[in-house]
Symmetry: C2
Subunit: 335 residues, 2 copies
């Protein structure tokens, strides 16, 4: 089972209008409401491709209530930590003429006690439970932290996974990304902008090396239509994006994370994870190339869907079956 | 007691952003959620000025649930008719640079059975009830109808009020406004644009005469900063807007409706409404001038408030105490 933590979930509302205009009253032609937040997108793509998944998330107020019921309807297993604040809503306005406009509410501030309860839920699910649920093979932490959150909470979750011999993948930004690397995340997976912003580096390789030096085993950087790369201290492995795919890029990075973690779990659990000493082995280059190809195929399949958090498994399969373009191995000397 | 029907209530959400920009991701700096729809604005202003008020409204889904609780918190008495559809949300985006942008969801479609239950609630509350609640002295119908609604529902409510000797005020648009006039509403109160649009007339006086000929007793037209006018078959009485007031015009027309109906009830109930034959007497010109001044004072007080559906009673009192500018009496020959 893969455990996915969404620290700052959202009710994602999409409004379709005829034409976006500032200062006007606009009739909404179509409304969609979906449970959102990057972690929930990852969890839904995993579940859609048949990977046992469990979501952990703080929920509060009417928005939280709505998300809990929507996850039930989607059949995604979830453990909700009830919080006092109101779960946020995002509103995205779309037309056929301009780029979408997104309004993001700030979300609730959680108390230290509330974070302790989230961490306790993560630790319980990592252990498996008395009902016979198996221990989690991997932990994914994905998405922004609510305002005023100490990034040490992310380090606590990563450390809890590492101590139990579970893989960990962090798709975070800012100080949360640095905290995940320092705690020894198996994979840090920012996009390029997030990597440069969090590390203060001038180029991708320098930024990735900073996260590796902090303690990350691998740094995977998603580059949108420019493909995806895995950085280790020795190598940069690159896989191009699936060519000729166009559509809705929202959530493609989250689908890529789902594709990444599912292959990583397959390979490492197949190889006997955790190791006898309880450690998580570093993936070798063959594994990393499989991981990158899976991530690229899942990302491309997500682009074909009109909404975030969805893939058609047949699309994933088709993109994985396409003879891959040659991967680049840009060996560099560690700085 | 004044009974206020809101046929299409809404969760009114206001997002403050630094600068409205199409195609951008914008952080919402401040979120406000309020129960909305014009009738609820009228009801809240009446309640804020100490007038016994009861709201009737169809509510469905999470938005409806939220509104019911918010009205409880506000202390506004309400009778909810549960409907299958989802009560709509409106999102208004504001900054300090441009006009607000409003996104209005279409709202639910109600079945004929659901409308019958709304009408039954209106009739019960007009009658007073077994718990000792008095019959309603006036009925206000305010705001848009949901999609695909037969405007005959508005006529049914107005007729129910008239048969019981209760005043009726309709602040509607389109065919609902025509239906209210035909059913013999005491006051039809559109703004100028709504009047011209509903009647197809080229000027305000012609439009008002059409509603009077259909059956309305008085037509009151709100003109924003150009004041407010009462049309009878013989006269046009005009009162200018309170000078030197600037702020938030949203909901000022609804506050004006509250000011209008509260004075009308005072005068006509003071004069022994309903008449011995059960009819509602037409207000005389002295009453109409008091009504217009009250409407203008309430509208101006609403402009001083940052949100719709609110007035400070001290502001209303201050504006009513200001020596009024001379009212214009534009006597015309009925066309």
């Amino acid at each position: 089972m893969i455990l996915v933590v969404t620290p700052n979930p959202a009710v994602d509302v999409t409004y379709r209008v005829a034409e976006q205009r500032i200062g006007a009253t606009q009739r909404v032609l179509e409304v969609q409401r979906r449970p959102g937040g990057k972690g929930l997108n990852v969890g839904r793509v995993l579940a859609a491709t048949g990977v046992p998944t469990h979501a952990v998330l703080p929920l509060g107020g009417d928005g939280g209530y709505w998300i809990a019921h929507a996850l039930d309807d989607l059949g995604l297993a979830h453990t909700d930590v009830a919080v006092r604040g109101e779960t946020r809503t995002t509103v995205t306005v779309v037309d056929d003429l301009a780029h979408p406009t997104m309004f993001g509410e700030p979300g609730p501030v959680l108390s230290p006690d509330e974070w302790d309860r989230v961490s306790a839920a993560v630790e319980t699910l990592l252990d498996g439970d008395a009902t016979g649920a198996p221990p989690a093979a991997a932990l994914v932490v994905s998405g922004s932290l609510p305002r005023d959150t100490d990034p040490a909470v992310v380090a606590r979750w990563i450390t809890a996974a590492r101590r139990r011999g579970a893989l960990s993948v962090a798709d975070c930004s800012g100080t949360a990304l640095l905290a995940a690397a320092s705690a020894g995340a198996t994979v840090c997976k920012p996009n390029r902008e997030e990597l440069l912003e969090a590390t203060g580096a001038d180029d991708e390789r320098s930024g990735a090396l900073r996260l590796l030096r902090l303690g990350a085993t691998v740094v995977v950087v998603s580059r949108g239509s420019d493909g995806i790369a895995a950085h280790t201290a020795e190598h940069v492995l690159e896989v191009p994006a699936v060519p000729g795919v166009s559509g809705n890029p929202t959530g493609a990075g989250d689908a890529a994370t789902a594709g990444l973690v599912s292959v990583l779990v397959d390979v490492l659990v197949g190889a006997g994870l955790p190791a006898p000493d309880g450690s998580v082995p570093a993936p070798d280059d063959t594994t990393l190339l499989r991981v990158l190809r899976s991530a690229a195929a899942h990302g491309a399949a997500a682009v074909l869907q009109p909404v975030a958090g969805a893939v058609d498994p047949a699309d994933v399969h088709r993109f994985l079956s396409t003879p891959p373009a040659p991967a680049h191995d840009r060996t560099r000397t560690p700085a």
